[in-house]
Structures are given as structure tokens and as C-alpha cells.
Symmetry: C2
Subunit: 641 residues, 2 copies
């Protein structure tokens, strides 16, 4: 078979592929990231590239305008290599961009950390972990005092560790003789205690060594991480980035399918570990004296599929009836077991799963939300990819997963994007002119719209009369922002014209997008109803609603109620706490007791499989309407209309 | 630099080396084993090769006869490559030959195993280990019973394990979903329990799976191993082989020096793990249904340097004053940590060291000898490479190491070899004709002489008047077996003429050999005296003498006393127990309690550094005489003379 070389700009990477290989496969082989939420089926239109030169074949797509086609714009998944090529990657807001945040300058995030720490205190748990950085002066050996190195170190620790015995990895044992002599027997030890032993995780020359922990929320769409000073609990750096598994599919199902292909599981495992987490660690360390070996503990929270892929465990049975994960409680592994670029002996704690579609991210979120320690019946909603709900209090909890898809994180929406700089996060539409007023994250030129922006946009379109209760766009003559698009075959609303956007492409929402969103919000609301029904409670019995998730920082609670996503109850009962999964992982990092509590929370939750509940489908159909077919559920919206 | 290729026969291996490389280095690079107890200094004459063709340079050696030199025989360490070469390896009894023994057919060995097991019973310890092979039928998952795989397995084990939680390696977790489904949820588990958890070491399809343990004695000269059925304690196979580290030096000191060279530590670690242990495992499995993953536990005993090299831990401080090992109690590692070819999750237990020159092999030997549980003052002697002594009982123990060198295992003796087939293990000399009568191990043609043979030979030479008390050969006219050798510059005794040996070379002992042996036995006897002095006891206070070690199965106690190696006390107090280090490792494999006892034994022993004792040197000088300068210490010899 003939092979050709493909050169990717601006990455400057070249790859040799066989004739007829798709540009998407070539990019994956070259290690060039292409967003492909549909998994390479030609449906999402996000893998756009520009062919600079070279023979190729392509299927035309309704997602590429004729003018774009003439400029060489192609969908990589529908284009095959037929000669040596030069291809330009034209995606401008890369999923693989890592955003390092200055948490000390962000008052919202700071207050969320405070809130989480308060939860810890309120429940009487100590912010104490079993990791210690200890400076010791070891007695130099003599002929009369000739005990071995390891026992010599242990002798100095006897006052602290009493009769506990030291253990360590063979790699560390191999290093000990050299290090203690090079440092003149004056060393720093990193120690982790358990009941019968203590483990020496590292021995180094530094005398005042800071030790760090890593906590990570592995979202299907977004990965968020913090680097934490383990002795003070201070967050030293924080970062987020798109989940690079996106190139193999936007949702857990398409990724599970990819995992069953030859090499597929390795692709997905490498994407999250090497592509996301290890790179984020490096970026977080850049402005910091921290070295990889100083990071001596790590905690990971993710949904059940994400934690399987993170550990490299085949997730395929999650998808097949009767939907069985490989594990609920992951044993504690070491960083070296999964090639994490931190101290190789650092424990890797993975928060426990509840069921196939309610994972450790939800357990982590409930931990951070704090109602597991309260008598008040609370509804906890995680609006990320899909949407998971937990209802309960300290006595009981029921949980379910709604098939909401990735709409709340900008997926399934043609101009959607995750809550990253350039994303429109808030929208107001003038009732008369129908001209929108937008706010973007980072106040930059808009590049797309994130979850909170879409909620605003749909609420505003509904109340300004652009769309009806079914989400259909009414025919207006008074605004040129409302148009019919022959590619999609439906009407659309122009949010931002091409000249005002970051990438020179219009930002538009069409009826298909709106329909996708209505199904997502319908799935969530009908989930709430089903949970309440399962325990015989009604909307008014919910004393508190805690909304979490990657939906965007500035979620407008009022608009979310108006469109029928959140229950129409007293607004003072709502609280938006942002990425609660990351906050829970943070608590587990700074507190051994919090990690214990997370296990108990997972045990407490009863999982309700919505697809097995015959009433759910009916609830869902009723909820795919603005705000709901049963308007009596939304008295405040009824009053407004 | 020009490179040339060297072809080694009969191995059929070719290697490219630079001009001027020694044939010894070329052989090491090619992975061809050459015995080199002197470490390549041209002193031992054991790295003989035959150059078939090719340009080379060599230094003449007194160890190669002129006739041999003409045939192309060279010492590999003194020969450099100056062109493409073909070289034949002429060593006939290879150190690297693995001898698999049929223990069931060997009544001596069988009775030694019985003796060891009796020690266990006598001390009230149970022959129980924490490893179990369990066959379980897992309930198949349904929509109503959808707990994850790991928890599903654990549920079946609840009756056995109660509230203990399962742990496993990430590699095993990755395999679990596939294996349990492929087997129709009908699997075998290998489990190891501890206080709070149980570890799943393996999951497999076999329903009646036997699990095995491996115990190994890593001697400086000889490595011995057994494969044990963990449920019955039966020894399924046993093997021994020369320690392949021999190519880097015969004794611990020359190996420690080699370990400090670039790549030296890796050479030594690979030689023992890959070259010896992994090959011995494969050989022991050959006549057995056992697979590597069925070996789920391993116990290793060796002297302090050997255990360091086995784990890849730098041993250099053992040699440098104040002689500090890296560890006494090795943490428990896993087979995968040191690339052992058994179940990757199998624990690796290494018996604890006492000091730099009294190691885990002695602790293991004392465990197997049993006097740690007795009131009788016992002298335990391990006569392998060097010689280690322990004196004591259940209340106290003192231990020392004698610088005896490898003479008891055939080292430091020109025709010496380890106790392997072809080794002369017993000798009688006719007083009149001076013609010897020999017995070889395996009753094959003789190839050399092992420790027990040398003791016999020297005793017989002494009492037949061939040598005097200083070990000098008297001038005889009546026997052509006594000659002067101009190469060695001293007299020698012809034990076996060339035509009767396995390799066509004479077996001879000369005055240098005898001197080396006298120094070895002197070192041991003066060690005994020093230990006794240290606790204020005399020879008659020794109620029992237990002799162990690689000296050869058929040690003649009487001859050993006659030459002044063993104390001249009542013969009924002596017992020879063979490789006690291997037997102790075997006990630790079949009994968790024995492993605990070994730690206590190590704690109990007080190490006495002979080189720091001013009286020792005087004792040593007096003891380098047949039987001793103070003949009153050997009343039975005095009577005979």
C-alpha cells in the first residue's frame, strides 16, 4: 500500500499514513488534537481543517458552506489522504488549551473553597491528612553504632512513630544509601502513616520541603485540577482544560464504544493521563518551586466511565445491559501504576462510584455540598455532561442520572463550547429590537456559547417571543436576525455576526439546537419529578437546591426556573456552588476523615435507574416544553405569561 | 575505533566489540558465561577459552601449560581482540548449569525437609500461610442485582472474609471484567489475607488451581531453590546452580567493587534475577503443570551483600568502614518490582540481615536448625563461602563471620568446584601406596573437588604423611604422584590423572591450595574460640554443633575434627543439616509464624566484628596449622599421632 506524508500546521507535525486514511486518523496518529464530539461520524462539524495543498477526497457536508469549501475547509473525518498533504488546523479555541487560573484573585472561587472547608468544619471533621514532611538529622554510623541505613532512619523517627515499622518502595530503598551520605545525614523525609506501618515516600536533600497534593475532577467535557500545599491546605495553582478524550467522542457512550476497538482503551487512557492530567500538572508547577516528586498524594473524582478510563479498566459493561461497572471502590494505587508524573509512590485515591451512571464525581459533589450532614431534604443537581441528581439528607439519599447529553457544557449545540474564555455566559435580548446583549468569560470577543449562556438565551428568546413553548422560532419580519438556513433546513437566530466573533464565524442558534437543549432540560426536570415520586415527596418538600457543575459560573437561577429546568420554588432555597466534584476531591486531599465520609456517602445512596421506571418517559415528554406542559408546576412563570 | 566480531562456540553467539576489548568483556557482552572468581585479574585461571581462529594478543600465564598454549588455550581476561575471531568455551562443568533434583528420590534431602518441619512443630508453630486458592461461582448480574464486578466477587467472599475489604493491583482490576465473563462467572481466586484487607492476587479460569511458592537460598557460590505446593507444603521441584555473579568475582568483596562500576550493579542484579532465579523457575516448572502466575509467594535468604544485589540496592557501604548495610528488614516487595518471572503480584519476602557480614541466610539457617527454641548451648556453623558462626540458645545468641573465603565451596583451590555432579566429595588415601580412592557426586568421572572432598583429602594427606602440620608436602621418592610444578613454583599431589577426568585435565592439589584451605579452616576455628571467649565459655560447654552449608552433602565429621576445623568434642553432639538457609526459607514459605520467628531471631543475635577483636588475629595464626599449634585443644588427634 502506498503511503503519503501529511504535514499539520501550526503544530509542525508530520505523519506517514497509508493512502485512503482519513485526515482525522492521521491527526490522531500525529498527536494533533481535533475536536470530534460525534466520534468522527460527520455529524458535529467540529473537526474542521483547511487543506493548504495535496491530493485528497472528501464528502461534502451541510456543515461546510460553499464559500468555505472553496477556501479548502473540510471536515477531517470525511476527508481521505490521496497524496502528500499540508493541512492547517483551524479550530481556534482548542479543547486542549490548558487554562491556569489565579484562584487567589478570583473571589467567587475563593469563596467556594471557603464554603467547602466550612462543610468540613461543620461536620466535625479535621483538616488533617496522614502525610508529613519531616526534617531529620541522622546519627552518623560508627563501628560501635553500625545499624543499617533504613533502621538508622527509623530510629530517629521512633519518638514520632513509636513501634510502627518503616516500609518503602524498592526504588526508594535503592536510593537511600547515596542520598543520606550526599546530604551528610541531614535529610528531609516524606512520610505517610497507617495503623501498623509508616511509609517513607521520599528522601531528599531539601531541608524545608513543602509537600503538595493534586486533586482532579475528570469531567466528560472538562478536566479541572488544583495543586494544594498539603501542610496548609492552600490551593497553590488551579487549571482546567477540555477532556482530550473528546477526539474519540463527546459522550461516555461513544467513548465506551471507542474503548472496545483495538488500542482504543489505551487511546482514551493516554488522552486523560498524558494529554490532560500530566500536562496540567506541568503547567500548574510553572510558577511554583514545586517539583513532580513533591506531589505526594492525589485524589481523582469522575463519573464511572471516566474513572474506569483513567485507570485503564475496560468500561464496556457499563454500556451493556445490565450495566455493570468493574468496581465501586477502587483500591488505592500508586502514581507509577498509571504513569502519573508526580512522586511515583504517591497514593492515587479515586472517589467511589455508586452505579454505572452515578459516579465518584457525584459522591465528591455531595461531600462538598454538605447536606449529607443535615436534616433538611436537599436536591443536589450536577449539571455537566449529562446531569445527575441526588435527593436526600443525612438519613437517606436517592440518586439518578438523566440522559441530558452534553448540552449543559455546550455540546450538542452547533455554536456551543465549554465554559472557557470567549464563551458567552450571559445573554439579554431587547424585547423590541431583538438585539442581544452578551457577556463573555474573560470579556474577550465571543467564540461560542456555554451552558449558562444557552439557558439565558433560550429564556430570553421565549420571553421576547422569538420562540414558542415547543422551541420553534416564530416568523418575524421585523428582525433580520431571524433567518431560514437551507443547510440545516430550519430557522435560526443570529446571536453574533461573523465580524464580531473571535474566529470570524457567526454565532447562531437554530431550532435543532433548541430542541436538543429542551430534551436536556426535560431529562433533568423529569428526573427531579421521578426522584420525588420515588420517596413520595413533592416540589415544596425540597428545602434546598444545590446546583453544581460545569454549566458556567454565572448560572441565572431565575432564567433556569423560567425555562423549566429548576423547580419553581422559593429562590432563596437555591445555591450554585460551581465545580463541587473538584471541591470534594480537594476535601479528600486535605482530610483523611473526608475520604472516609465519601465512602459512607457512596454506601448511603440508592441508585434509581430511570430507564427502568415506566413513569419516567411520560414525565420526560411533558417536560420537553417551555416551561412545562403542566404550567401549574411553574406558578411564577404562569403569573408572568 | 575499529570493531570486530567475535563468534562464541558452542553457544553460537556473535558480538561486535572494539579493537582491544578483552575476550572476557566480549563474552559478557554476548551473554556467554565465563567463570571468573578472581574478577578478571588473571589469577584464578578459570576463564580458559580456546581460540579457533582470529588475530588476538595475550599475556602468557603460569596457569596455562606450554602445550595448552600451543593448542590455542588462553585466559579470556588476558586476551584482547585484534581481528574477527572464533572462540570456543572449554569450561566443561559450567557454573551456569542448572541441576534439577528429584527430592522425592533423595532420602537425605527428604529427611532434612522432615527435620525442618519437625522444628516448626516442636516450637508450636502452625504450618499455615495466608495464601488461599478459592473456587467461587459468582452470581450473574441482572438489572435488579447490578453491583460492580469487584464488589460482586467480594460479596461471594463475605462468609470467609467478613468485613475485610478487597484490594488488588491495577493490572488485575483491568483483567477482571473480561475473565469473569469469559468463564461464565465461575472462577478461581488467589487470595492473601491481612488484618484489614484481603488482596486478590489473581483471577483465573482454572477451577482446581494449585498455587505454589518459591523459596531460594542465594549463596555467593551456589543458588538453590525449591518450588512448593502452598496448600500441602510438598516440595514439587528443587534446583541448584552456580551463582552467575561469579563472572564478576568469587567473593562478596570483589562483587561489591564491581557494583560500583558503571552498570556494575545492574550486571550483578540481572545475573542473579534473570540468569539464575528466573531460569531455575523455568526449569523447575518443566515437569509440572505449574505456570509462572501460579507461583504466588516467594521467600529469599542470602547473605547481606547477596540480598542487596538481589534487590538492586547498592551494597558499597558494606565494604567501607564502618560497614553499614542499606537495610536489615527489607520491606515486602512484589515480584514485578524486581522482574521475577512469577505472578507479578506475588510478595517477595527477604529474610532479615543481622549485620554487614551476617545475613538473612544465617537467620534462616538458625530458624531451620531449631536451637533458638532450646536451652542447650549450640554452635551453628554455616560453611559456605566464608563461614558464619552463631553460638547460643533461646535466651541469647552471638554471631560472627570468618574471612574464610570460598574454599569450603571449592573456590581458592585450583581444581576446586562447587558440590555438583562430577565433584569429588570424599577421598581415602592408601598409607602405603599413596594412591587415592575417590567418590564423586553422581558417580560420574571426576571434574574437580568440592569442600567435603578437600577436607577429606587434606586429612588423608596429613595422616598418610604426605603433608606436615604446616601443610607443606614432604619430599617422597616412593610416589610419582608427588611432584614439583615449575608453573606454580611449589609441590603438588596428583589426585586424578588427565585420562581419568571428565575434562581431560589433571586434578591436582598444590601447596598454595593447601595453604588457602588452612587459612580458611583457621579462620573458622579461631572464630569459634573468639565467640566462646566473648561469653566466657569453653569448648566443652558446647552441647551441640550443627554444621550447615554448601560444603558438600557427605561432610566427614571425624576428618573435619582431625584437621582442626571442628572442635574436638563428643562426636554424638555433631549434626550436619545441609543447606539450612534453604530450609529456613522453606519454613517461612509454608508458615506465616515462621516468618515472624525469623524476625525475632534476627533481633536476638548480637554481632561480633572479629576484625575489631585484638585477640582474634592471635587465635587465627595458631589455628592455621594441622590440627592446631595448641595440640591440647585436640586430644583425640594428639592420641592418634
Amino acid at each position: 500500500m502506498r503511503t503519503y506524508s501529511v504535514y499539520f500546521k501550526p503544530q509542525g507535525k508530520t505523519v506517514e499514513v497509508e493512502k485512503g486514511t482519513s485526515l482525522m486518523d492521521a491527526a490522531q496518529k500525529a498527536g494533533v488534537f481535533l475536536d470530534a464530539p460525534c466520534g468522527g461520524k460527520g455529524q458535529c462539524g467540529k473537526c474542521r481543517v483547511k487543506v493548504i495543498e495535496g491530493e485528497h477526497r472528501y464528502q461534502p457536508s451541510r456543515l461546510i458552506a460553499r464559500q468555505e469549501e472553496n477556501m479548502g475547509i473540510r471536515l477531517a473525518c470525511l476527508t481521505t489522504v490521496e497524496g502528500d498533504m499540508t493541512v492547517e488546523i483551524v479550530q481556534t479555541v482548542g479543547v486542549d488549551d490548558i487554562i491556569v487560573e489565579d484562584i487567589t484573585a478570583d473571589s467567587t472561587k475563593k469563596s467556594r473553597v471557603k464554603r467547602a472547608v466550612q462543610v468540613l468544619k461543620d461536620s466535625g471533621m479535621k483538616a488533617e491528612n496522614s502525610f508529613k514532611s519531616i526534617k531529620i538529622k541522622i546519627k552518623e554510623p560508627t563501628l560501635d553504632d553500625n545499624i543499617p541505613d533504613l533502621e538508622r532512619i527509623a530510629r530517629e523517627l521512633t519518638p514520632l512513630m513509636e513501634s510502627k515499622k518503616p516500609v518503602c518502595s524498592v526504588e526508594l530503598l535503592r536510593k537511600i544509601p547515596r542520598i543520606i551520605r550526599e546530604t551528610g545525614f541531614d535529610v528531609n523525609l516524606v512520610i505517610r502513616e497507617d495503623e501498623k506501618h509508616y511509609e517513607i515516600l521520599d528522601v531528599a536533600a531539601q531541608k524545608d520541603r513543602k509537600i503538595y497534593g493534586l486533586c482532579v475532577d475528570i469531567g466528560t467535557t472538562t478536566v479541572a485540577a488544583c495543586l494544594v500545599d498539603l501542610s496548609t491546605g492552600e490551593i497553590e495553582a488551579s487549571a482546567n482544560s477540555g477532556n482530550l478524550q473528546m477526539q474519540y467522542g463527546a459522550d461516555v457512550i461513544s467513548r465506551i464504544i471507542h474503548s472496545t476497538k483495538p488500542g482504543g482503551l489505551e487511546n482514551l487512557h493516554d488522552a486523560i493521563v498524558q494529554g490532560n492530567v500530566n500536562k496540567m500538572i506541568r503547567r500548574m508547577m510553572e510558577n511554583n518551586a514545586c517539583k513532580p516528586e513533591d506531589i505526594v498524594c492525589s485524589v481523582f473524582a469522575g463519573n464511572t466511565t471516566m474513572t474506569h478510563l483513567f485507570l485503564g479498566v475496560p468500561p464496556e459493561n457499563i454500556r451493556l445491559e445490565p450495566y455493570i461497572p468493574a468496581f465501586r471502590n477502587s483500591p488505592v494505587f500508586r502514581a507509577k501504576d498509571i504513569a502519573l508524573d508526580i512522586n511515583p509512590n504517591a497514593p492515587v485515591y479515586v472517589l467511589p462510584n455508586v452505579a454505572s451512571y452515578v459516579g465518584g464525581d457525584i459522591v465528591s459533589g455531595v461531600l462538598a455540598a454538605g447536606f449529607w450532614n443535615s436534616d433538611e431534604v436537599t436536591l443536589f443537581m450536577d449539571l455537566g455532561t449529562n446531569g445527575e441528581l441526588v435527593l436526600g439528607n443525612r438519613e437517606w439519599m436517592v440518586a439518578c442520572a438523566c440522559s441530558a447529553g452534553p448540552a449543559f457544557e455546550g455540546g450538542d449545540i452547533s455554536c456551543g463550547m465549554r465554559a472557557a474564555p470567549g464563551a458567552i455566559e450571559s445573554v439579554r435580548i431587547d424585547n423590541k429590537t431583538l438585539i442581544p446583549d452578551i457577556v463573555t468569560i474573560g470579556n474577550t470577543k465571543p467564540a461560542g456559547i456555554c451552558g449558562s449562556g444557552i439557558i439565558d438565551l433560550i429564556a430570553e428568546m421565549f420571553f421576547s417571543g422569538i420562540i414558542d413553548g415547543k422551541g420553534k422560532i416564530k416568523q418575524f419580519s421585523k428582525s433580520c436576525r431571524i433567518r431560514f438556513d437551507r443547510h440545516s433546513g430550519c430557522r435560526e437566530y443570529l446571536l453574533v455576526p461573523a465580524e464580531d466573533t473571535e474566529n470570524g464565524r457567526e454565532i447562531v442558534i437554530n431550532e435543532i439546537d433548541i430542541d436538543n437543549f429542551l430534551r436536556a432540560k426535560g431529562a433533568v426536570f423529569s428526573g427531579i419529578k421521578t426522584l420525588l415520586n420515588s420517596v413520595g415527596l413533592g416540589m415544596e418538600d425540597i428545602k434546598k437546591v444545590i446546583v453544581a457543575g460545569g454549566i458556567g459560573q454565572n448560572l441565572d437561577i431565575e432564567n433556569s426556573i423560567q425555562i423549566g429546568l429548576l423547580p419553581d420554588i422559593d429562590r432563596s432555597r437555591f445555591e450554585f456552588i460551581g465545580n463541587s466534584s473538584l471541591m470534594g476531591a480537594y476535601l479528600c486531599l486535605i482530610s483523611d476523615e473526608a475520604r472516609q465520609a465519601a465512602s459512607q456517602i457512596a454506601e448511603l445512596m440508592t441508585y434509581i435507574e430511570l430507564s427502568a421506571d415506566p413513569a419516567y418517559m411520560e414525565e420526560f415528554v411533558s417536560a420537553c416544553f417551555l416551561p412545562h406542559t403542566d404550567i401549574s408546576l411553574f406558578p411564577s412563570v404562569q403569573a408572568r405569561i
